[in-house]
């Protein structure tokens, strides 16, 4: 069986420093949703010197655009989207206190460098396992940008949300090391 480490949000520098690429984590606490359009707005606010719609210090952003919730449900299916589309925005958010990002797929060298410099971590949730991941989401509240529909910023209260650490503060990348470990010459 896979061994999981439990972590609580918000994340402190101390907590981030203990995380290593390859660690299986179960996250509990609050995490924020945001993808392409919301990221652009956050970065525009920072660039203009304006205040963000939530305190980003120590927080985790989950790259997700959920399907609509059925009546009586907290949220629809909510799996990760491809993180690379957020690469242009992430370094600035890390500089301003963001500690964690959850998505799927590899990050640019600039984002990886920013994680080392500002003590941040990138985690992968299982893409396409949206119905399963939804079970760890206990509540959802709108934070900002309702006009963006599934791309609005929402805060999710999660319990034991399963992720794997891909990039850590030492500059490790599980996508690279994992692939090397299992490749064969053919």
């Amino acid at each position: 069986m896979t061994e999981f480490k439990r972590i609580q949000t918000p994340l402190t520098d101390g907590a981030v420093l203990t995380l290593r690429a390859g660690d299986n984590l179960l996250i509990s606490g609050s995490i924020y949703t945001g993808r392409d359009a919301a990221h652009k707005r956050l970065v525009d606010l920072i660039t203009a010197g304006a205040e963000l719609p939530f305190d980003i210090n120590g927080q985790i952003i989950y790259y997700v655009g959920p399907s609509p919730a059925r009546p009586g449900r907290v949220i629809g299916s909510a799996g990760p989207t491809t993180s690379g589309r957020m690469d242009a925005y992430s370094p600035l958010l890390l500089k301003h206190g963001l500690k964690g990002m959850i998505g799927k797929g590899s990050r640019s060298q600039q984002v990886r460098d920013a994680m080392v410099e500002h003590k941040g971590v990138y985690m992968a949730a299982t893409g396409g396992a949206a119905a399963l991941l939804t079970r760890s989401i206990k509540s959802m509240e709108l934070v900002a940008y309702e006009d963006l529909g599934p791309e609005a910023i929402r805060v999710l209260r999660v319990e034991d949300f399963p992720v794997v650490v891909v990039n850590d503060v030492l500059g490790n990348d599980l996508y690279e090391t994992g692939m090397k470990q299992y490749q064969r010459q053919s």
Binding site: S67, P68, L132, K180
Partner: protein, 279 residues
Amino acid sequence: MRQINSRKITEAVVKLCQDANFDLAHDVTQAYQAAMDSEESPTGKEVMRQIIENAEIAHSERVPSCQDTGVAVFFVEIGQDVQVTGGSLRTAIEDGVRQGYLEGYLRKSMCDPFTRKNTTTNLPAVIHFDIIPGENFRIAIAPKGGGSENMSTVCMMKPSDGRDGVIRQIVDWVKKSGSNPCPPIVVGVGIGGNFETCAILAKKSLLRPIGQRHADPEIAHLEIEILSKINDLGIGPMGLGGRNTALDVHIEYMPCHIASLPIGINIQCHACRHKETVL
């Protein structure tokens, strides 16, 4: 002349949209199980366990297995002796998409390319029509997510690249795509035809059940050879390292221009969604 009422088509499309997103086909779940059993990486095994449990939840609770319920892509074969009554065939299919996505609580993912404003109906659908002899009407849906579609390509290769060049191109492309398209993937390949045909062949090949080989033994052999090379890349489930990078490789093949060697590579994520019905 056989008549089919457009309302019947709309009803069938509503069901196809929802069933495809809630219920993964048996060939797909069987391939998941085989990948979990054979996976050497503990993390890869855990990913496959989650993917299998996810498919079971989606099926039993009638919820989308993935939040990206995709572009609604259809392949329609209509017999030339069939007449659609009560409205246009295209409108009947579009009405089914609108209703199916709304009532099934499926995500509407279509938007304007520049303003990014959502059309809110998941329309337009992408519909490929094929006129066939007879009175049959067959409609297949393959909802396609953005993550894997973004990792697809058309390459106009040189005839001198040949078989080896084509193999190299496909394997290198999968390597470059890495973790992005949600492996273990199904690789749909169209070889031959022209620019647009090789892409359509690649997409159409994804409708074939996983594990079913091309009828031509030489193409079947090529599929197996490429699959083995892709799994030797070590990308693994969700790109976290492992021995299962692709569940299958499907090739469709046809003649091309004497100056050309077009290939289309359509990458399909592990949620290989396809459903069809005959009216």
